[in-house]
Amino acid sequence: MSFISYLINGISLGSVYAIIALGYTMVYGIAKMLNFAHGDVIMVGGFTIFFAVSMQGFPSIVGILLAVVLCTLLGITIEYIAYRPLRQAASSLAVLITAIGVSYFLQNMALLIFGANTKAFTSVVTVPAIKLAEGQIMISGETIVTIISCIVIMIGLTLFINKTKAGQAMLAVSEDKGAAQLMGINVNGTISLTFAIGSALAAIAGMLLCSAYPSLTPYTGSMPGIKAFVAAVFGGIGSIPGALIGGIVLGIIEILGKAYISSQMADAIVFLVLIVVLLVKPTGILGKKIKEKV
């Protein structure tokens, strides 16, 4: 029975990774860059909720909405100030290094405002836990909300991309920016929208993550961010279903690794799996083959 509990916990953690991985994978697919500050947007979302709910006493829903709005604006601003001016840069390393810089900037801003002490985050999830199999398996409210959120987000995003004009524009920009412009698509606007969506999802991930693991520091987003990046690469970076599969698989490996092998080694196992996958299939599980055009 404990195996099933571990599995459910793994799916839950994996759902958070998947939601974060979406931000990485969409930005990579459309702007062709790795936004290493993405994990820290999760932390900003966590602190926003902490500030609004725990410090100011606003209702949870207000805190969550505030976090989503703030992170969306933050994502758009980061792209506009830090990444857009470098889009024509000769080296794609320039924007990568800038992203790392933005990551440190966000961490240190949080350090400056909230200090280094770990904050006790009060869960904003009010869904009651459910018991299965005569009480042998307990699924927490956080787990239920996390898994449902992940499903809703995946369906919503897939519909958005396939059914709306803005979604189709994203597909076009991800394939060929120049040709997309000739169709009348505003490439800068489309990239802004991508950052907005990714960052809004990061805020939700922050809410879910901090509710399940209720401690908050300026570095809270860093490790989940890196693991979600691993999940995105694992599933095939640029692919939305890939982010889902990569996230869930990674979450399950991590929890099962912690339970059955060693809790200290769990992270090492996660990265080991990444290395093996990349050796066997360099484009990830659902990654597209890179076509060389003549």
């Binding site: 189709q168 394939e175 169709m183 009348g184």
Partner: protein, 236 residues
Amino acid sequence: MAMLEIKDLEVYYGMIQAIKGVSFEVNEGEVIALIGANGAGKTTILHTITGLLEAKKGSVVFDDKDITKTPAHKIVSMGMAHVPEGRRVFANLSVLQNLKMGAYTRKDKDEIAGNLETVYRRFPRLEERQNQLAGTLSGGEQQMLAMGRALMSQPRIILMDEPSMGLSPIFVNEIFDIIKEVSASGTTVLLVEQNAKKALSISNRAYVLETGKIVLEGKASELLNNDSIKKAYLGE
């Protein structure tokens, strides 16, 4: 009054000057050919007209409006479509999705459906393959798709960059027939081609470009009989 007027255009790639003061004009209803060797600057000029590249000096005037600084994504809704070199269809989207992308700026659903019908009538092959991914089409079919996609915006002028490149002789003839049809249906055409003979045979006037400068211009029929053109571009 010219529909499209290029004046003293200068374009740089970094420090290197690619276009060294080019002026020409396209009148409504004409087919204009821009011919010249590889690297003469033909593609650069088209990219500058539609805003994919920035001009350092000079101007591009379309319908009496200066569009030199207009961003690329605002050009198509003004009535100018660009079929880029190498076709650049969206390989992972279906033929139908590609065509709909061409009508991205159009709002009226009935109008889009009508345009789609017109495009399918002109390119029956695209209709047969409408659910196929564009990347799986042959080169000639991709060229048809790129043209169809451009026509979906109902342009008044269409810029075509090397439409015959890499195609078999049969497809080359087919593509040029289509360009004639497009012109006959009232759309102005600015055609960039290395295949000078073919291009001149369907054009009203032409400009000959050499390393970023126009060295010769005139009626297409006269250029076809020009000795230096014959030697340099027609292989006679």
